[in-house]
């Protein structure tokens, strides 16, 4: 059984997605329980697979689907990079699904079974993107996850439907770009397997066609990762979606696309001049994203939109780190993938919870909410401090490594952008924190203290605690995982 783990982490949620709607017609409680059990099993499978990968000397676990050897068959590859990503995706999927329980019982859609089914499809799609070693298979999973995400995001009401339709249009263009791009590369090399293609592309010697293919792939994935200026779909989609969906999607979906960009540019096309040019372009886009995202976040009066624009800026951190290409900068970017998933997940879960409990989501509306939901507000505060990048939280240390990388590369504009963005995010986060904890109207009687139910509170608190502890104790993660996730050309 355990030798099939690389495919099991995808197949388990995929097959549960088929069972859950049927079960949901009888009992929605049972359907959600099966969903949780499936996600827990997926997390265990991903963790076991990762430990096994980390124990091997070369750290690569190649799995041939159906026994067909690549390049003819589809290959799944778990290395420290994809193994780590799959654990991250699986754990946040479980956290958001636990959080979804109380939400779905009270204010979710009528058919909880369908909701859970779509959610499992989304998880399976994202895990597939991470685990696959085949460029076309990656496209398939990209579409599975995107279509599931469109449906889930649209369940948030009328405005969510409009926002999602826009995301659907933009997302389809992105997917088509990606497909066209791999079409070029397939025509040049006759293969879709990542390792195989990497070896054959040099021999093809068609620089213009390669450049067009690479360009299309990069644009497609950059749209999916919401890299500035391709971020337009993101704020509305995140703002109006149901809280558990935003919590999960905002935490990992753009990060998985960023992973795909990193995988393709460094591991598949590492030797191509076109990939180097794409990285230069992405570096500038990253710096622009850092500045623009933070600046636009400052102008928002709705906390969810503010968090969404802050995501645009934070994706800039990650892309900028990848583009610098030195070990320390890539480690910083990978560490920020992890940190941003944890802290943004926590922030969206709490914000959604506050709206669910009080109906409020504007910055002004948060006044005094800390008195009513003290533990949720504390989790929000920890994650917010980490977003600003203040020690001793994890967010500080990823920023530290990114800054070191920027200094090494003498990317002064990047240094300025990182520091400026910290200033701006300090302003927009402390504006919210001040209202949360100090904004209470003293003249009125204090409203009843009533925090979120345990199922919604616990995931947010655990994420906040991890953000806090990962700051001071991140050395094992970096040395055993992230430093082994560097591309062969760099390390």
């Amino acid at each position: 059984m355990s030798e099939h783990l690389p495919i099991l982490i995808v197949v388990v949620p995929l097959s549960a997605a088929l069972v859950v709607p049927l079960l949901g017609r009888r009992s929605s409680t049972a359907a959600h329980a099966v969903t949780l059990a499936t996600l827990a099993a997926t997390l265990v499978a991903a963790s076991v697979a990762l430990t096994r990968v980390l124990r091997t000397a070369d750290g690569v676990w190649q799995y041939e689907l159906g026994g067909w050897a690549p390049p003819w068959g589809i290959e799944y590859v778990l290395d420290p990079l994809s193994g780590g990503m799959s654990v991250l995706v699986a754990s946040l999927a479980l956290a958001a699904a636990i959080y979804a329980g109380p939400y779905l019982r009270t204010s979710g859609p009528d058919r909880i079974g369908l909701f859970d089914s779509l959610y499992l499809l989304l998880v399976a799609g994202l895990l597939g993107i991470v685990a696959t070693g085949d460029l076309f298979n990656l496209y398939v999973f990209l579409e599975i996850s995107s279509i599931a995400a469109y449906a889930l995001l649209a369940t948030g009401g009328d405005r969510a439907a409009v926002a999602t339709f826009r995301y659907l249009l933009v997302g389809t263009v992105a997917a088509s770009c990606y497909l066209l791009g791999i079409g070029y590369l397939y025509a040049l090399t006759g293969t879709l397997n990542m390792t195989d293609l990497s070896a054959r592309l040099a021999a093809a010697d068609q620089p213009t066609a390669t450049a067009v293919g690479v360009g299309l792939i990069v644009i497609g994935l950059a749209i999916k990762a919401a890299v500035f200026p391709f971020h337009g779909w993101l704020p509305d989609a995140y703002t109006y979606a149901p809280p558990p969906v935003t919590g999960f999607v905002a935490a990992v979906m753009t990060k998985v696309s960023a992973y795909a960009l990193y995988r393709v540019l460094y591991f598949v096309l590492g030797a191509e001049p076109a990939a180097a040019s794409a990285l230069v372009f992405l570096g500038w886009a990253g710096v622009a994203a850092i500045v623009a995202g933070s600046w636009l976040a400052l102008a928002q009066s709705d906390v969810r939109r503010m968090l969404a624009y802050s995501s645009v800026g934070q994706m800039g951190y990650i892309i900028f780190g990848f583009s610098l290409g030195s070990p320390i900068a890539i480690v910083g970017a990978l560490f920020h993938v992890l940190n941003h998933a944890l802290m943004k997940g926590c922030l969206f879960l709490v914000t959604g919870g506050i709206r669910w409990r009080t109906g409020l989501s504007s910055v002004a509306g948060f006044a005094g909410v800390g008195r009513r939901l003290p533990l949720s507000a504390t989790a929000f505060a920890v994650a917010a401090v980490s977003m600003v990048g203040l020690p001793p939280t994890a967010g500080f240390f990823s920023k530290w490594y990114l800054l070191l990388g920027a200094f090494e590369a003498e990317a002064w504009l990047g240094v300025a952008a990182l520091v400026g963005s910290s200033w701006l995010s300090a302003i927009y986060f402390f504006r919210v924190l001040e209202r949360l904890f100090l904004g209470a109207d003293e003249s009125r009687p204090a409203p009843e203290r009533r925090d979120l139910p345990f199922g919604m509170l616990a995931p947010a608190l655990v994420l906040a605690l991890v953000v806090l502890l990962l700051g001071l104790f991140h050395q094992p993660v970096v040395t055993h995982l992230l430093e082994r996730a560097l591309p062969p050309t760099v390390s």
């Binding site: 320390i328 480690v331 401090v385 600003v388 203040l390 020690p391 001793p392 500080f396 240390f397 530290w400 490594y401 800054l403 070191l404 200094f407 090494e408 240094v415 520091v419 910290s422 200033w423 300090a426 302003i427 402390f430 001040e434 100090l438 209470a440 003293e442 001071l472 104790f473 991140h474 050395q475 970096v478 040395t479 992230l482 430093e483």
Partner: protein, 497 residues
């Protein structure tokens, strides 16, 4: 306990108290017991390292490894121990004072208050014992975050606006400091604080000067070097014990201590001389001393007056660091302790006057010397000390600074010190005159002496200010520590004797 574990334990003990305090909930006696136990234990731990450090040892705890060869770690050397001793002994006294003040002034949300206070002390001692710039920065920013709830404790509009200003200044400067530290890390990877500095020859003079400017802006906000001082008078909206310990001792001294660390242990005096950056710092410090004293003269709110006096006094420390001879550095380092005891006396007195006589201004103290003899006597001692009257702690610092200035050939600095002393006298002595030489008015006639939890700490700090002026090396041996640290810095950079 193993000697090597003590710097770490001294940092963590108040953090442990901070996690226990919320559990004490609404039981004030238990809450205060935890605070006192932690404060006493912290002081005992810090003081127990004194003999070894005076022997010339640096006591180092086990490091926490991070990636890329970086570490977080604590090490007690002479300068660090001097600051840690000052902060932890004053925390014990302030805890006692807080008990009296918070009850007398009926301050709400006391658990949150004590928790923040305990975290601040961990951060302060962490700053003192930080072995490298990264550890220093982590503690420095934790101090900012932990003091914010104390500044806005009253939760009024005024407090919130002061809190905002505080964050803009301190977090803004923190990022500048971060850039400077990352730069240092990129040219000297994994370097620890070294007496005499470790940057000599690592970069061109112009780059070093630019980096030094970033460092000074980063630390200068907390050290309130003009024009970076704007947050300090506004932050006086906090409860008085907060102003006393944090804005006279911990936060502002963290900044001044940072300047000394950076001048003496990162750059080295010689490197700064070579770049000419020392002259700029001397001018800024001297200007701050004079302008702050003149601003204090025009201030009619007692705590804000003390804030301006703090701004001026902190620049003595900056000035000493910039002058860089053994005498000047000794004076600067000794002033970290000396000014701490004197200024906290003044704030304790201001708090007592607030709760007992309802006086927040600088007028109307008529006859209070008779009504509140302990408080007003301590006030007079502190004021004389700050003005630099001989036989008090302030004089020791000033004398050594003056000697350092003359050695360096900066006679004009001696003039600055004298004028500053006169201005100090000009804004403090009218208050003392009113209190002791005028008859009580109807407003002051029913003022009573502060209760003992307030009167005892302020009496003790005033007495210490006196003892330090007469015998600066008894007890905690602040002067010996300062001398030891100053000599190691100068020997390390091979500069002037």
């Amino acid at each position: 306990m193993d000697l090597a574990a003590r710097p770490l334990a001294a940092v963590l003990v108040s953090l442990l108290a901070a996690t226990l305090l919320p559990l004490a909930g609404r039981r004030p006696a238990l809450r205060e017991a935890i605070t006192f136990a932690a404060a006493g234990l912290k002081l005992a731990l810090v003081a127990s390292m004194l003999p070894a450090v005076l022997d010339g040892q640096a006591i180092e705890s086990a490091r926490l490894p991070l990636a890329a060869g970086l570490t977080l770690g604590f090490r007690a050397d002479a300068l660090g121990l001097l600051f840690a001793l000052t902060a932890s002994s004053l925390w014990l006294l302030t805890s006692l004072y807080s008990v009296g003040y918070l009850r007398a002034a009926a301050v709400p949300r006391q658990t949150a208050y004590y928790v923040s206070f305990a975290v601040c002390l961990s951060a302060t001692v962490g700053i003192a014992f930080a072995a490298n710039l990264l550890t220093f920065f982590v503690c420095y920013e934790v101090l900012t975050l932990a003091t914010y709830p104390l500044v806005v404790h009253a939760q009024t509009a005024e407090a919130r606006s002061a809190g905002r200003r505080y964050l803009v200044y301190t977090l803004g400067a923190g990022q500048v400091l971060l850039v400077a530290i990352v730069w240092t890390e990129s040219v000297a990877p994994g370097a620890d604080f070294t007496p005499g500095g470790f940057l000599a020859g690592r970069a061109e003079a112009g780059v070093l000067a630019a980096a030094f400017a970033l460092f000074i802006v980063g630390c200068g906000v907390k050290a309130a070097i003009m024009p970076l001082h704007g947050w300090l008078p506004a932050a006086m909206v906090a409860p008085t014990p907060v102003s006393a310990l944090l804005h006279a001792v911990a936060v502002v001294k963290a900044g001044a201590f940072g300047v000394v660390r950076i001048v003496g242990y990162v750059f080295g005096v010689d490197v700064l001389r070579a770049t000419g950056a020392d002259t700029v710092l001397i001018v800024a410090a001297a200007a701050t001393i004079l302008i702050a004293s003149m601003r204090a003269l025009g201030e009619d709110h007692l705590k804000r007056l003390l804030a301006y006096s703090t701004i001026g006094q902190l620049s003595y420390i900056v000035l000493g660091a910039a002058l860089g001879s053994v005498a000047a550095l000794t004076g600067a380092m000794f002033h970290i302790a000396g000014h701490g005891f004197m200024k906290i006396t003044m704030f304790f007195c201001a708090g007592a006057l607030h709760t007992q006589a309802h006086r927040d201004g600088v007028h109307g103290f008529d006859g209070l010397g008779r009504q509140m003899p302990v408080t007003m006597t301590a006030f007079a001692v502190g004021a004389c000390g700050l003005a630099g009257v001989p036989l008090l702690a302030g004089f020791i610092a000033k004398w050594n600074l003056g000697v350092g200035a003359l050695t360096a050939g900066d006679e004009i600095i001696v003039g600055v010190l004298v004028v500053s002393g006169l201005l100090n006298a000009a804004y403090f002595f009218p208050i003392i005159y009113d209190a002791f030489f005028k008859a009580p008015t109807t407003e002051t006639a029913d003022a009573r002496e502060a209760p003992w939890p307030m009167a005892l700490p302020l009496g003790v700090t005033a007495a210490v200010a006196l003892v330090l002026g007469v015998a600066p090396s008894v007890g905690f041996r602040f002067f010996a520590l300062a001398r030891l640290a100053a000599e190691s810095v100068v020997a390390g950079s091979g500069g002037l004797p």
